[in-house]
């Protein structure tokens, strides 16, 4: 299943648009496509991993997004808008997937084999972040948006600035940086000290 599906960016864009317009069923297709890409990336990571040689996150993320986002050269406005939708969808996909896995249900990867759960070596508990983020957004909406774009969308601070400006928020790079620092501290505190 995994190997036979290729992600045509057109395909993904189409589905994103459908989803944005309210078609929930597009999410399942998207999940499959995204995970196909993730698996490809994972395979690449395995091939290129060498002891002591850490992979460069930024490069990898760009690699991934090149496949997912529409081709460069497309109108700024569209692209930025695309990012915010994409970030939101990614969040949704990962959270749903994590929920299913922890409930032991079947995911597109197949049912979870009890006792075979591998513990994430690095990385947060997606569900924890998601839940803390929802609470965070109540009092700090713009900052939550920054988190979503950066953490789930994988955008750089500059790209975040562009994206938010396109959707009407007037922010500077400095603002985004400070927003990110604050949010990160807040989430770290919330996840580290569950109340």
């Amino acid at each position: 299943m995994a190997s036979s599906e290729t992600s045509d960016s057109g395909e993904i864009t189409q589905r994103l648009i459908r989803w944005r317009d309210g078609d929930e069923s597009a999410l399942e297709d998207l999940t499959r496509l995204v995970y196909a890409e993730l698996r490809r990336l994972a395979a690449w990571m395995l091939k290129n991993e060498r002891p002591g040689h850490t992979l460069q996150p930024t490069a990898l993320v760009h690699e991934l997004y090149l496949r997912l986002v529409p081709a460069p050269g497309i109108d700024w406005r569209c692209r930025s808008q695309f990012f915010s939708i994409a970030a939101n969808v990614m969040r949704r996909i990962l959270v749903d997937h994590a929920r299913k896995r922890s409930a032991g249900k079947r995911t597109i990867e197949g049912p979870v084999v009890p006792g075979e759960e591998t513990i994430s070596l690095a990385g947060p508990d997606i569900l924890e972040v998601d839940s803390a983020l929802s609470r965070f957004a109540k009092h700090h909406p713009r900052q939550a948006q920054v988190v979503e774009l950066r953490f789930f969308g994988g955008l750089t601070n500059e790209e975040i600035v562009e994206t938010m400006r396109t959707s009407g928020e007037q922010v500077s790079l400095r603002t985004v940086e400070r927003d990110w620092r604050f949010s990160r501290a807040w989430l770290q505190d919330a996840i580290g000290n569950p109340r």
Binding site: M1, M45, V61, R106, Q143, R178, F182, R195
Partner: protein, 847 residues
């Protein structure tokens, strides 16, 4: 939630601004800044300080450096991928399991437009020998033939281009049976119905010459609709043949469910599957794991389980179908095939030993192993070997702690200690050295473990079969030392003691011929021990014990064998033992052990005389019998006075014996006094612990002796009242221990009361009692039980005769058939000599 409350009190913007400003500052400046801006607002200040602290952590925390998607990719990278997209004509969907001998995938395949699913088992290439793969593929035809609604079908097999062999089986979407039973809260009946279905399926496969070899709950799935399916039939054999080398054979089975011969690497037959089914049945009924030794189940089902779990394959149920059927019969209250041999006999209680405290047990085991280790150490200089041994010893020492930590209950822990120790000895024994000192140590070690295993663990009876195995190993070692001509007196004594232990174990296993063989050998060896070492008290006491074990074996055999010669032999064995006991008592006056043995010897002699008198119809009591019994009372009184706690029971028991002897001698008054004395003493002990069944049984026997005393004095109503008590007592005992349903006492009580009711015109009650006896006795094959059955059939016939001639005829016919069978096997006992003629006479009266 506290957080919400806090932030609700705080202006978000202010919080952010203050944080932003503060995090740019150094420690000192930071403190000042916060003091300045958070005057009087401790909540705000604490919140900011909390965030600042988190900020420090977050900067270093990897989770914020890597976006979520990447983390997810990393997680996928860490998880093993599906190595296959396709296997044969199947599309692989996902992995559903991984085990010792391969991985299982869920796959699907298009069949003319509709999709069929399969579970595909693949064995790792690393295990597969190329030559065998062809055979693997060929032999699949045998398995593919199995076509049964409760067996998951084998669909296909083959190998991939890489040469990896695979098997496709019907995919069963279900849960393992024990999980199903638990989740659905299935009652006993439903569980047994499932079990019978399983046995049916196994039978079918056996008829088609396929043995499962790896039956366990994980291989028995139940779908949501309640349909049972057995998986992996015969796969174990196919795959083990395919796998290279012998290394995998141990991975091919699950030890908890594997039969002893499987574990030992011996021949596997349909009986091995029966064994596994026995384990599964036990776990299904009790909800607990089947440990060794295991907790006994209540009722006939325990007999069924025991028979399935016999060590020797040929002693188990001959077929899975028999097992399933017997399980159902146990449920419905019908007599089962697996039964004790003869009437319960109270003397066997004499062998109940005092349980060893666990701490002592561990210390004993450890000591045994250290002794063996030292012997080994002396024997072998080689460093390498010593290191190995020391590693084993260490793991014994330290591994135990880890294992104990997680175990539920000390019984498992005890078992583990014993198991480890035995494994350790086995390791040393496999060395095949000819060093005598080492052999001696090993033999002593095995003997010790036999003792440990034979101990009752709480309410259990101990692992008798396991003890027998250890004793055998010990005995073989002693015998080999002796045959090498290297035995000293010590070796002969120990050898004789092991043989004595084996005799006692065989008695508990109801194998009386084997018991006699061991007993006779024990006496032979111990006589040599005494000859080699005249004046050695140890040797003489060991010989006495050996003789006594032989007497018991003889006694047991006479009951189940039923020939006059057997009874005579038992009486003369008892006389020999008594003679030896007196000699020793004379030589070591006041010695407690010897006194105890003398009391027992008196008791045994009286029993054997009594039995002999009964079967030869010699009415008058031998006056020596009364004398001997009084001697028994005196001796035990002496012991009791010295240590009341240890000899309370023996002393009270002696009074019971006295009551019975006086009753049969016609001294009714004396009998009654003695019986009341024993009853009083036993009731005192039993009162303390309501749940102690042994104490309760003592009281029951005391009631019985009082009943006999009353009858001897012609106090009929009182005798009837006592017999009623006996019946009630044994009904309660029989609920938990099947052997008590056919104890000598209850059979006699029912017979006596039957006659009593008939005299008083209460026919229905009498019929009920005779029928109850007949039910309890049917299926037993000890001679004494068969004899009692014939007598009760005749009694029932007599009772039916006036009102139901047809019924009476049926009973007389049954009785006649039994006498014929007994008569064909050998001459009838004098006491029974007239019975066949009598029954014939009664039958002809109806023609």
């Amino acid at each position: 939630m506290q957080l919400a409350i806090r932030d609700d009190d705080i202006d978000p913007r202010e919080l952010r601004d203050l944080f932003d400003a503060a995090c740019e500052l150094e420690d000192g400046a930071r403190r000042d800044f916060l003091e300045e801006h958070c005057v009087g607002r401790t909540v705000l200040r604490e919140r900011i300080e909390g965030l600042l602290s988190a900020d420090t952590d977050a900067v270093a925390d990897a989770r914020w450096m890597v976006p979520a998607l990447l983390c997810e990719a990393g997680r996928l990278a860490a998880e093993p991928e599906l190595p296959f997209d396709r296997i044969g004509p199947y599309r692989v969907l996902s992995r559903i399991g991984a085990g010792g001998m391969g991985t299982v995938y869920l796959a699907e395949r298009d069949y003319d437009g509709h999709i069929g699913r399969a579970a595909i088992k693949v064995i790792p290439r690393i295990l597969a020998d190329p030559e065998n793969i062809d055979r693997f593929v060929r032999e699949r035809h045998i398995l593919a033939r199995l076509n049964h609604p409760h067996i998951a079908r084998m669909l296909d097999a083959g190998r991939t281009e890489d040469g990896v062999p695979w098997l496709a089986m019907e995919y069963v979407d279900g849960v393992p049976i024990e999980k199903f039973a638990k989740e659905r809260g299935l009652q006993l009946k439903a569980r047994l119905e499932l079990f019978e279905t399983i046995c049916d399926a196994v039978m079918y496969a056996h008829r088609n010459l396929v043995v499962h070899r790896d039956l366990k709950p994980a291989n028995i799935l139940v779908t949501a609709d309640g349909v049972v399916k057995l998986l992996d039939f015969g796969i174990a054999k196919l795959l083990s043949d395919t796998a290279a080398g012998g290394a995998t054979s141990s991975a091919m089975m699950t030890p908890a469910y594997a039969s002893p011969e499987q574990i030992a690497g011996g021949a596997i037959t349909t009986s091995s599957d029966v064994y596994s089914l026995g384990v599964i049945l036990y776990e299904l009924i009790s909800g607990e794991k089947c440990t060794v030794p295991r907790k006994r189940l209540k009722g006939d089902i325990e007999n069924v389980v025991s028979m399935a779990l016999r060590q020797e394959p040929e002693r188990r149920y001959a077929s899975a179908g028999d097992l399933g059927e017997d399980a159902r019969r146990a449920l419905e209250g019908f007599p089962v095939r697996a039964r004790q041999d003869s009437l319960g006999y109270r003397t066997l209680r004499l062998f109940a030993r005092r349980p060893i405290e666990f701490a002592l047990l561990a210390a004993m085991s450890f000591a045994v192993c250290i002794a063996a280790l030292l012997a080994f150490q002396q024997y072998r200089e080689a460093q390498r070997r010593f290191a190995e041994v020391r590693a084993t010893a260490n793991s014994f020492l330290f591994g135990i702690d880890d294992a104990l930590a997680g175990l539920p209950g000390t019984t498992r822990a005890r078992m583990l200690v014993a198991q480890r120790g035995q494994q350790y000895l086995d390791t040393l024994a496999s060395d095949r050295s000819s060093d005598m000192a080492l052999k001696h140590e090993l033999a002593s070690g095995y003997r010790r473990f036999g003792d440990i295993l034979g101990q009752p663990f709480g309410p259990n009876l101990g692992d008798v079969d396991g003890a027998a195995r250890d004793y055998s190993k010990a005995e073989a070692l002693f015998a080999s030392i002796a045959s090498a001509g290297r035995a000293d007196a010590g070796v002969y004594i120990e050898w004789g003691q092991v043989l004595t232990d084996q005799c006692q174990i065989a008695i508990r296993q109801s194998a009386s011929e084997k018991a006699i063989a061991y007993g006779e050998k024990a006496v032979q060896v111990l006589e040599k021990a005494v000859a080699f070492n005249p004046g050695s008290r140890d040797a003489e006491v060991a010989l006495l014990r050996g003789r006594q074990a032989l007497v018991l074996a003889s006694l047991t055999r006479s009951l189940s064998n039923g020939s006059l010669a057997a009874y005579q032999e038992a009486a003369s064995d008892a006389a020999e033992a008594l003679k030896t006991a007196r000699l020793l008592a004379g030589r070591y006056p006041g010695d407690e052990t010897i006194q105890k043995a003398l009391a027992a010897a008196c008791e045994y002699q009286v029993y054997t005389w009594y039995d002999l008198r009964r079967v030869t119809v010699t009415a008058r009591t031998n006056s020596d019998e009364v004398l001997l019994t009084r001697e028994e009372v005196n001796i035990t009184r002496g012991l009791f006075d010295r240590s009341p706690d240890h000899y309370r029971r023996q002393y009270a028991d002696a009074y019971t014996d006295l009551a019975l002897t006086l009753a049969s001698a016609g001294e009714a008054a004396g009998a009654e006094t003695a019986a009341r004395e024993s009853l009083r003493r036993f009731e005192e002990s039993a009162g303390a612990d309501r749940d102690d069944l042994e104490a309760f049984r003592d009281v029951a026997v005391a009631h019985w002796s009082l009943a006999r005393a009353m009858a001897a004095g012609n106090h009929w109503p009182e005798a009837a009242a006592e017999y009623e008590k006996v019946a009630a007592d044994y009904e309660r005992l029989g609920k938990t221990n099947p052997a008590d349903r056919h104890d000598q006492a209850i059979i006699e009580a029912n017979d006596w009361l039957g006659a009593w009711y008939l005299k008083h015109g209460e026919r229905a009650r009498a019929l009920g009692l005779y029928r109850s006896n007949i039910r309890a006795l049917t299926g037993l094959n000890g001679a004494d039980a068969v004899e009692a059955l014939a007598l009760d059939e005749e009694r029932l016939g007599d009772a039916l005769a006036p009102a139901d001639p047809a019924g009476a005829v049926e009973r007389y016919r049954d009785a006649a058939a039994i006498w014929k069978r007994l008569g064909d096997a050998g001459p009838l006992l004098p006491v029974d000599a007239d019975r066949p003629k009598e029954v014939e006479r009664k039958l002809s009266a109806f023609k």
